[in-house]
């Protein structure tokens, strides 16, 4: 390869036979701007080879390099005394007491899932599991946060059922219980489904291992599956917008998962870590060998030298470029202590897997790639991993969205009288309805530690041998973020925290997945910045630092962006499993107490979407101090064993929250008799999605204590009714409106609606 001046300098590498010439078009195809390419040349001090260009393209993609989000992410609080490992590793790690540490992280697989839903989702689960067990933690739970268009489209049903099967089959096969998550349907996600998967892993504190290539002279080994031609440039693909023809043309960039190999790799990796024969381990995830090797070197301040001819491959004739950028699944890079490579191989052999020596740790800070002894890439490791250009762009709010937010909604607040029909419609809307059709395709009970299964406010996993348990939830209402990003992001965190306290857990830390459109557009960058600022203030207020996460930008099809969707994965600690609380009413005759205040708000609600096909108005107001007080008061009530149940109010408002508590898991629905004297318009009172509300129930002799604790925390609270019997109905009376529904009609609407839409759709596209 010649330099720009046409001369060959001392450092230049001879061109590799068969590699294309680097032209401006080739550079553009690699997703690098002319300026970025100039930066590559200045880092290299010469023209890069084609192989080197591929390496830079992957490492400096949005997916690996966070070039549009890095500066914003620095605004998030990341520290607390209980944080053991913050952002920058494969996963965050926190201390959860009794000598245990929890590794957890969320990751997106949006682009692959849009193109090939089953494999896209399955490999998403596979990747996040590997991020957890490479920290030395055994994966103990998975959650999934999914978003699709409306189910009346045949294409959406195809994506939805493919994604759910993919998430399920992978986790089921590896044997990790799914304990929760969320699913939303809205035309805002029509072209770009959102598929985020979160994993939790437990370990003893001392079992923590990190992904660094330490110890000059140590051996790099490729472990697990062979490297093939699948997923080449997946990281770059994930950093582009989709178009109508992405479907067919991009399918080769989607990887194929093999959960059976993953299970073997999981056991082998944990055994390797426990054996002490390795000093570092990392998943070959996005950008494959390139990112795992260069990041491990970057973290340790060392260099690596890799021989491509030694990498076990699936097919002959793969070029170094292909091997370096393949995203074949179920592969690991491990650093074996010099002289102990045989022990690594023996452990892998027991699990019927391969391990090959492919390189060594050096002291020169270079990322050097050989092909049969000939150098084909030689890049300084630190600029490659840390030198990705970062951008702070101009952010301007969209005038269109401002107009939607300012829309006058008063006509939608007029209805009074018998609102039972609207109530049942809302209860059967896929956004409110039971997600049973989904989680019944998941194994939720394997590993015999699931204390609260999907369908509740948060999933709960006990820690065997202790009294402790971990609760986890994922939350984000993209409509609220779309209408007002800062408020919407605060709401996402506030709802996550409410979900955790409802099961009795203290919110402890966050992993986030920022799913947004193309940040080069000012209105998208505005959404991203505002959402990060909102999230940062909520994290401060709730003392829940962010320990890691994922950024997925360019979620657009044919120029249309998804709703900005900063998904919050929040974890909390339950000190005594005996205090675990559930959302379902437990006893006939219990008092129902509403914590928090109803408001006149209806903006961004499911009610507006279902009854008027509208996403408009301002999102509900959120007061972080009031949320914090609410969280603390509920935790105190639960720890004092006052409550029979607790349930957060979210989509569908107070009426749907009461219905969910009444129906429970469908085994033994209980009636409800509630009367509300609020001086509010009935629709807002019943179906508005005002924040900071939790519905609790308690034996009547505990009600005074509940109200006392609420008042101590300055949380508005009042008894609004009582739990009735299984043969009674569901009744809510307001001054000017009412709901009166039999439990079986409610159960039908709530439990069967998604299954009915999937099994016998009335329309199709």
């Amino acid at each position: 390869m010649s330099t720009a001046e046409g001369t060959v300098t001392e450092d230049s590498l001879p061109p590799r036979a068969g590699d294309p010439l680097i032209t401006p078009e080739v550079v553009a195809d690699h997703g690098l701007s002319p300026d970025e390419y100039e930066r590559v040349r200045s880092v290299m001090g010469r023209e890069p080879t084609f192989t080197e260009l591929g390496v830079f393209s992957a490492m400096w993609s949005e997916h690996c390099g966070y070039k549009n989000s890095k500066r914003l992410l620095r605004l998030l609080p990341t520290e607390a005394p209980w944080v053991i490992q913050g952002p920058g590793e494969n996963a965050g790690v926190i201390d959860v007491g009794d000598g245990y540490a929890l590794a957890f992280k969320i990751e997106s697989h949006n682009h692959p899932s849009a193109v090939e839903p089953y494999q896209g989702a399955a490999t998403g689960v596979g990747g996040i599991l590997r991020d957890i067990f490479t920290m030395g933690a055994r994966p103990v739970a998975v959650l999934d946060s999914l978003r699709f268009g409306d189910l009346d489209s045949g294409r959406v049903r195809y994506l939805f059922s493919g994604v759910v099967s993919g998430v399920g089959d992978y986790g089921n096969c590896v044997g990790i219980p799914n304990i929760g998550g969320e699913v939303a349907f809205d035309r805002g996600y029509e072209g770009n489904p959102i598929v985020n998967a979160m994993c939790l892993g437990l370990m003893k504190r001392e079992e923590l291992i990190t992904a660094s290539a330490s110890g000059v002279g140590n051996t790099l080994m490729a472990v697990g599956a062979r490297t093939g031609r699948d997923g080449i440039h997946g990281a770059t693909f994930a950093s582009e917008e989709l178009s109508e023809d992405s479907d067919e043309s991009s399918r080769p960039q989607v990887q194929v998962g093999d959960p059976f190999t993953e299970k073997l790799l999981l056991e082998a990796s944990l055994e390797l870590i426990a054996s002490g024969v390795i000093t570092g381990i990392q998943d070959m995830g996005a950008a494959g060998i390139t990112s795992s090797a260069s990041e491990m070197a970057g973290r340790a301040g060392t260099g690596v030298e890799l021989e491509m001819a030694s990498v076990p491959v699936r097919e002959e004739g793969m070029t170094p470029y292909e091997i370096l950028l393949s995203e074949s699944q179920e592969r690991m890079l491990v650093v074996a202590e010099k002289g102990r490579e045989g022990e690594v191989r023996r452990i892998l052999e027991k699990w019927e897997l391969e391990a090959a020596e492919i390189g060594r740790v050096t002291d020169d800070g270079r990322f050097r790639i050989l092909e049969n002894g000939v150098t084909v890439a030689d890049i300084p490791a630190l600029p490659l991993t840390e030198g990705c250009p970062t951008y702070e762009r101009e952010g301007v709010e969209s005038e269109d969205i401002k107009a939607w937010r300012a829309m006058d909604l008063s006509e939608h607040l007029i209805p009074e009288g018998d609102l039972t029909k609207s109530f049942l419609l809302l209860l059967g809307s896929p956004n409110v309805a039971s997600k049973r059709w989904i989680y019944q395709q998941y194994d939720t009970t394997v590993r015999t530690s699931t204390a609260v299964r999907p369908g509740g406010d948060a999933g709960v996993i006990r820690i065997r041998g202790t009294k402790r348990a971990i609760a986890a939830t994922t939350d984000c209402n993209g409509r609220f973020v779309y209408l007002e990003p800062r408020t919407g992001a605060m709401i996402a965190a506030a709802e996550a925290a409410r979900n955790l306290v409802c099961v009795g857990a203290l919110p402890t830390a966050i992993t986030n997945n920022l799913n947004f459109g193309n940040p080069e557009k000012p209105y998208i960058y505005y959404q991203l910045r505002e959402a990060v600022l909102g999230l940062a203030s909520a994290c401060e207020a709730f003392e829940t630092p962010v320990t890691g996460g994922n950024v997925s930008l360019y979620n657009e099809t044919d120029g249309r962006a998804i709703y900005p969707t900063p998904v919050i994965g929040m974890v909390g600690v339950i000190e005594d499993v005996a205090t675990i609380t559930r959302q379902a009413f437990q006893h006939e005759g219990d008092d129902i107490v509403l914590l928090g205040a109803n408001t006149d708000e209806i903006g961004g609600s499911e009610y507006l979407y279902v009854t008027a096909d509208l996403v408009a108005g301002p999102p509900p107001a959120v007061d972080l101090g009031a949320e914090r007080a609410l969280q603390q008061s509920v935790l105190k009530m639960i720890r004092e064993r006052l409550l029979s149940s607790a349930h957060d109010c979210s989509e569908g408002g107070l009426a749907c929250a009461l219905a969910e508590a009444a129906l429970g898991d469908g085994e033994r629905p209980l009636g409800v008799s509630v009367s509300l004297d609020d001086d509010l318009r009935p629709v807002a009172c019943l179906f508005g999605e005002a924040q900071g509300r939790i519905v609790v129930s308690c034996p009547p002799d505990k009600t005074a204590d509940v109200l006392r604790i609420a008042s101590l925390h300055e949380v508005p609270a009042r008894k609004i009714g009582s739990v009735a019997g299984p043969d009674d109905g569901f009744d809510i009376r307001l001054r000017a409106a009412s709901i009166s529904a039999p439990l079986d009609a409610m159960a039908k609407a709530y439990f069967d609606s998604i299954a009915d839409l999937m099994d016998s759709p009335s329309t199709g596209a």
Binding site: S165, G168, D169, N172, C173, V174, G175, D258, P259, F260, T261, K263, L264, K350, W351, E352, Y439, Q440, Q441, Y442, D443, T444, T445, V446, R447, T448, S449, T450, A451, R453, R462, V577, I580
Partner: protein, 232 residues
């Protein structure tokens, strides 16, 4: 009193079964599928999971593992063998139990609590239950639809070898209570001698109330009570 949990590549219920056996007092070991010899054990447990990824057919490759010869020998000497979920599939593939487990009729993986009725209590596995008792136990499988030819089914029913049946909360074997399309709502069967039990539901996942049910515990405590007598 020793129990062996036989593990195959891809087993994932091995740990749960190990804990359940331990909970009722068995000294329990994992026995890797390439190992040989079960003579030291009083009880053999085949766990759930996806042995060999369920590639080819659930349990079809696992049955060719070296250890399966020992499982067959152990069973033929009257030793108690319990296969759950993928373990049940492996027992059918190996010929220790008749019939086959095919794709659920709903064509989806089914993970949920079901109710099963105890049809027989004179077995080492079920002596702690009442006849007709209805248990709430989780299932988690994609291929749990029990099928057999007409003669086999008639023999199974005639000889009282159906041990568990899917039922509703009132104990009736209805279609609605059948999660996978199994013939005659069959959830678990035994061999002629009554020392080999295969079942799709997971009793090991219903051994403590924090898990949602402890209805499965009696199966293990029944074994703990019966096994010493069997081995003398």
């Amino acid at each position: 009193m020793k129990a062996a949990v036989v593990t195959f590549p891809g087993s994932n219920g091995d740990y749960d079964l190990y804990k359940a056996a331990q909970q009722v007092g068995f000294e329990t070991d994992f026995v890797w599928h390439r190992e040989r010899g079960l003579d030291d054990y009083d009880l053999v447990l085949l766990p759930g999971g996806f042995s060999y990824g369920d590639y080819l057919r659930a349990g079809a490759i696992a049955r060719m593992s070296p250890i399966m010869e020992d499982v067959v020998a152990f069973a033929s000497k009257g030793g108690p063998v319990l296969g759950i979920c993928n373990g049940f599939q492996t027992l059918c593939e190996s010929g220790l139990l008749p019939g086959a487990l095919v794709r659920n009729d709903v064509l989806r993986f089914q993970g949920m609590d079901v109710r099963i009725r105890v049809e027989r209590t004179d077995l080492a596995f079920t002596s702690g239950y009442e006849e007709g008792q209805v248990l709430r136990i989780p299932i988690a499988h994609g291929e749990g639809n029990f099928e057999a030819d007409k003669d086999t089914l008639e023999r199974l029913e005639g000889e009282g070898r159906v041990v568990f049946r899917y039922v509703d909360r009132h104990g009736n074997p209805t279609d609605e209570a059948n999660p996978n399309g199994s013939w005659h709502n069959i959830a678990g069967i035994t061999n002629e001698a009554g020392n080999v039990l295969g079942m799709m539901p997971h009793p090991e996942r219903a051994t403590e109330s924090i898990l949602g049910s402890d209805d499965g515990l009696s199966l293990f405590s029944s074994l703990a009570a019966s096994v010493p007598a069997l081995s003398t």
